[in-house]
Symmetry: C2
Subunit: 442 residues, 2 copies
């Protein structure tokens, strides 16, 4: 066996659920079944199914969660479906809370196993769905028929992606969903061949697992994986190009130098001395504020928006933004690294070319603060820059322009604090993020 | 009469030589004639002519200089011509020094009138010239036949150009030569109509005074004035677009608000308090060094080259140069105004797109100082910037890269001093230049 195959064999042991966990899961499954069989006796038009990674045996031990779907006939209204599903769900678990996706649904525990009880419509084709969850039964059907024998390869891929932080389609990660992992392994027939192929992926690749084909398409911007149950849908729609690139890079490095580390979740060790030394002489600013109580995807969408907005304001004021980022923990933080922390009190103001008679006269009329000159026949003058210091400009941005920084965030940002350099390091929660942001995490 | 015509009438008195100066000139002319008539008796193959603005009566009183050309037959060698011309020239003036243009020539005085005695070949056509001075007799012939009655209009144009510092074709000015002024006034028939036309000039205009026509030509970059005695030659070749723009602007302002000030050489008053206040909070640097003993055109060509070279080095190191300039007096100074005076100790270093397998692996191999990340699928990392301070970088530039800053300048620049902000203002000679450079000269 090649090195890479040896490593993969070793890794299988790390990703497969141990007998104890598997047993615990089966017990919970049995309890749920008993409860639902009983509950649904009064509703012969309903049925329940175990779907998702648990039902397909592709779950990672650290992510055990049992998904149960209750399928409703189309005669039910949205409201009727929601109400009944919650009522039934509550009774199927030991403890519960309500969560929100397409519909509200019951998230609870049975024993110490996490369980989702989700309602959806029973439809004849995935192309007729009313909301995203209605597609799940079709995904399940398609995968379950094909994944037999490849379950642990799916697990290997998931863990591999986790180790480089691109597992999950949520906005925070913009990575690979579990379903996408299953499709890839089914399409390429193994974990190893998925990695080998990915090492040569291009961003404009189309993979069609339903037809078992793939091809490069000129005018697409990013990976397109055709959903076999709904060919108009891109399963990789939420995958960012940079997450894709990370996976491609990791595949290459793994093939060149196979290591078990790719299957072990990273424990981040921060070199505090280096960070302290590093941040000196760099212009790094943070906006730190309370975390608003919104669901994660909304939070991260708006963090990104606010980050972009402040970066744009900095650039519009001629600061060069080297890198920006955001982090959410108990608090939220937007971070900006700049080429320089303070600018000249004048900025160049360009006017028309001298040929434009009327505009030239207007320019002369309007610009009297500084005298004017020409650059290759074009009018130029100086104007006073009101804010020359980056920290002050960011403070101005959150005080005056917060309204355009996300509806759930804006008031929190307005009350935020602008910090700089060493002050950032005082926030312990931020350190692992900053370590990567500053490029010193190795 | 319109306002503008009244002002022009008033200005005529300012530009026409007073009787005393005219008389002084005529006396000197008479003396030169007598001496040369006598001297040339032994050389029947030679003749002399009074050419240039004095001979055409288009000279400005403050610029009186009598040009005498000695015309040699083509049988003379360059060396023979030079030697004899200098010998004769010396004897034609009271005091003299040698100057260098195409040939060396005698510059001297008769009474207190300045005189140039210049040798050239007598040719059948301007298209057969051996050096630029051989063209002068042809220029004179063409102008003298057409300028009668327009002499003072030429003077008005010259003085107008002087007041905005674009009179003279030398490299320091990159403006309008005296001959170009004569051609324009002959072409447009008066000073006023020259101004009126210039107000609507475009940089890609072609003026052909020989044919009395003008037209716009798509693919030329700057004003082309066809030499009537040598149609391949552009009389405005040394005119920069920015000098052109200054003239166009001044024409418009003069027409809108006619003022005698356009015919009075400016006396520059520097507002020292404003300059002092202004330079604070701006990032202005100077390289000050001894003036090398080279002719003016060479000096200014090389000053511009050195200025460009240092500006490029600054830009290559990610400093933004808002404006650069140079000034020569007893000392030389290169001046740079920057957007910012100090930069982050890291700079972004871009690598390949992730798709490029081999280059990606090379990039990973080579960049280990900082960890890497992706921007839209492209590799990026940081690298250490060695010099973060602008002053230090300029010092580095003149110490290490002086060799590429002009052959006559480089050793002087190497020994130069880098100064900054207020230190610049301590150099009194620089103040008028700096006042304009900073945009506070009004």
């Amino acid at each position: 066996m090649r090195d890479v195959e040896l490593i993969i064999e070793e890794a299988r042991k790390l990703v497969e659920p141990d007998p104890e966990t598997a047993d615990k899961a089966r017990k919970a499954e049995k309890i749920i079944k008993e409860r639902l069989d009983k509950l649904l006796k009064d509703y012969p038009e309903l049925e329940y199914r175990f779907l998702g990674s648990y039902a397909r045996n592709t779950w990672l031990p650290e992510n055990l969660e049992i998904d149960v779907f209750i399928l409703f006939p189309e005669s039910y209204s949205f409201d009727g479906l929601e109400k009944l599903a919650i009522e039934l769900g509550k009774k199927a678990v030991d403890m519960y809370e309500l969560r929100y996706a397409a519909h509200p649904y019951v998230h609870g525990t049975v024993g110490d196993v996490e369980v989702d009880i989700v309602p959806c419509y029973r439809l004849s084709s995935a192309e007729r769905i009313k909301s995203a969850v209605d597609r799940t039964p079709f995904h399940h059907e398609w995968v379950i028929k094909r994944v037999k024998g490849l379950e642990n390869d799916v697990r290997l891929l998931k863990r591999f992606l986790k180790s480089i932080n691109v597992y999950g389609a949520e906005y925070r990660i913009k990575g690979f969903s579990g379903y996408l992992c299953e499709l890839l392994v089914i399409h390429y027939r193994s974990f190893l061949s998925t990695i080998e192929k990915a090492a040569r992926w291009k961003r404009n690749l189309v993979i069609d697992p339903g037809r078992g084909s793939e091809y490069v398409k000129k005018d697409i911007e990013k990976l397109h994986v055709v959903d076999p149950v709904d060919p108009k849908r891109n399963v990789a729609a939420n995958l960012s190009i940079d997450s894709l690139a990370k996976f491609v890079e990791a595949s290459r490095i793994f093939l060149r130098e196979p290591s078990i580390d790719f299957f072990i979740p990273k424990t981040f060790s921060v070199n505090e001395e280096r960070m302290k030394k590093e941040i000196h002489g760099r212009f790094v600013y943070g906006v730190i504020f309370e975390r608003p109580p919104v669901v994660e995807d909304n939070l991260y969408t708006q963090l990104e928006k606010a980050e972009r907005r402040i970066a744009d304001l900095l650039e519009n004021n001629e600061f060069t933004v080297l890198r920006s980022g955001h982090h959410a923990d108990e608090k939220c933080c937007l971070v900006f690294e700049l080429l320089s922390g303070s600018l000249s009190k004048v900025r160049k103001h360009y006017g028309p070319n001298f040929e434009s008679y009327a505009n030239s006269m207007k320019f002369i009329e309007k610009n009297r603060e500084y005298s004017r000159f020409f650059e290759n026949g074009r009018y130029v003058t100086f104007r006073t820059r009101k804010i020359t210091d980056a920290r002050e400009l960011i403070r101005h941005a959150i005080t005056v322009h917060h309204a355009s920084m996300g509806k759930d965030l804006s008031e929190f940002i307005r009350k935020g604090r602008v910090i700089e350099g060493q002050e950032l390091l005082e926030h312990k929660d931020l350190r692992p993020f900053l370590s990567e942001f500053l490029g010193v995490n190795r």
